[in-house]
Symmetry: C2
DNA sequence: TGAATAAACTAACAAGTGTTAGTTTGAAAT
DNA sequence: ATTTCAAACTAACACTTGTTAGTTTATTCA
């Protein structure tokens, strides 16, 4: 299925790692080239611009989240069940794209032509998320607290997983998912 | 008490706002000067370097969090009570330093001489936080879940408040604190 | 009035920026 | 053996970067 990694893919993968460490603006094409073991000009045999690298990293990931949310929306799960699926989606995509998640969270403002599109994807995602919470309140599954604050709390935790996952060497993702479900939904007090 | 804002303070305040919008590396001294209505070279009558601006923003805030935590540690509250105080601390400092919080979260890696000191403050803060959770587990106040995951979940939410607070125009901070206490500690399910 | 001071200015610098043009290399395919 | 082609190279460009030096301006205080 998935083709072997092209040189372009490799450049984008290495770039994402550097972007996570220093941020998009602080990474120069010469930094990236050095990391690849080549000269800066050689990068342009494979990519069109520095901007294109960022676009590809962010848009690919944002669309993956959108696709995941669309699938969850059409599932026949309860509200709490859907929330659990959202947690699973974030754990999966974050653990598979540790470096890309940093750009998604911190460097989206450096998008240019693609920025409006990215923001629409993000807004739609949040609207879908909020809607699930509102249904849960109506059906009595979850507490009658402001959906906005609940969403903010859960979503910022999930969006920050990329910071935290790589620090835990002995990390079982299934176990992490269970813990997050417990903590984010059931709470921590006895 | 608090002196009237000096020109230096004003520069740092405006810089923090620009750093939040574009990140430290993407803000040039000419950007900052233009925002102040002066020329870039004139900034150097008041500050020593771009680096110094970042240092001041981040270290001041990090030390404020440390001071707050030290006070909470010595309070005679229960574990849950201390957690509530931590939430209050974050709501207070975040709402008072919306722009600075962005640098604290996203631009600390651009510290140079001060980076080690910053990281120590952050590590100590997290150790103190974790210790409170561990005591709560021992005393039976909170569930026996991994303290690391609980701390991560609560702390990333609190650290992201700066993103979210300015978006809500009709925001009562007391009300926000109550909501966060409910959601982060008691959970969202009925 | 004259001195002092804060805060702006112009001009310039050395280094670094993303990117382009044209060329060379080395291996695979004919 | 010759052609093809991906992928590297050198050299250079126009522009931007943080910062310094030296100077001017306007206000405050003796």
């Amino acid at each position: 299925m998935s083709k072997t990694e092209t040189r372009k893919d490799e450049i984008i993968r290495v770039a994402a790692r550097l972007f996570k460490e220093k941020g998009y603006s602080a990474v120069t094409m010469r930094d990236l080239a050095a990391e690849m073991g080549i000269k800066a000009a050689s990068l342009y045999n494979h990519i069109n611009s520095k901007q294109d690298i960022l676009d590809e990293i962010i848009i690919n990931l944002a669309e993956a989240f959108t696709a995941g949310m669309k699938e969850i929306q059409t599932s026949d799960q309860s509200c709490i069940g859907k929330l659990k699926e959202i947690i699973e989606l974030h754990v999966k995509l974050s653990s598979q794209n540790i470096y890309g998640m940093a750009s998604l969270n911190n460097d989206w403002m450096h998008l240019t032509e693609k920025r409006a599109y990215y923001k629409k994807l993000r807004t739609d995602y949040e609207d879908d998320f909020r809607h699930i919470l509102e249904e849960g309140i109506t059906s009595g599954e979850i507490i009658n607290e402001k959906p906005e604050v609940m969403m903010f709390s859960i979503l910022t935790t999930l969006r920050s997983l990329y910071i935290w996952i790589p620090k835990k060497e002995d990390l079982d993702l299934k176990e992490l998912t269970t813990s997050l479900h417990q903590i984010l939904i059931t709470g921590i007090n006895k």
